[in-house]
Subunit: 118 residues, 2 copies
């Protein structure tokens, strides 16, 4: 019987919070984190390798699913528009980050428990 | 400020165990569970709505990534071939199921902790 080479084994956990379908997962959370950092949606899309139509759709799907607005943008001005999180978006991102951080701590233990025999 | 309607809020967790890329996630685990149940790969693909080329590729990618064989098939016979899990596949599926079951228990608690205020 072949055995899995345990030293190279990794795990990945993806968490999604939603009402009906989209909600917030790693992708939308990353967009929101980068919006806080850069205040510039075009820059966010560029960093993430997303087309602006794809990125915009992810945000809109998420907002529609959760029934709140996540990101607000001001248009124009000398340096172009600025984007930021709405208060609800800020709160949701914070909860999502806390949730996933604690999941990771638990999963680290569980991974070793169930896969250290490999 | 709009609030999320907490009663309709749900979460979903996906766990993947891998070496470099594919490994085993919910899709391959489901294929393996159904192979145990039906012993018939064509039936498994039909239930999951997968084309046989897509399903086969998922299994092959997983086997290649983990370096073990997961499913074995006998060809022909009066009732067509039969498929079953290899011993390594059986062991991996068991570990994955135990891992994800315990993750779900932890996540249930963490979800309520972080999202009950909504």
């Amino acid at each position: 019987m072949n055995h899995i080479n345990n030293e190279n084994l990794k795990y990945q956990i993806k968490a999604r919070i939603y009402m009906k379908d989209f909600g917030i997962g790693p992708g939308v959370a990353k967009i929101m984190e980068l919006v806080k950092e850069t205040e510039n949606l075009s820059e966010v899309y560029r960093i993430m390798g997303l087309s602006s139509s794809k990125g915009w759709k992810m945000i809109k799907n998420s907002e529609e699913d959760l029934g709140i607005s996540l990101i607000k943008s001001t248009i124009g001005g000398s340096g172009g528009g600025k984007s930021s999180l709405t208060p609800e978006g800020e709160q949701l991102l914070q909860s999502y980050q806390n949730f996933t951080k604690e999941i990771e701590i638990e999963c680290e233990k569980l991974f070793h428990k169930h896969f250290q025999g490999y």
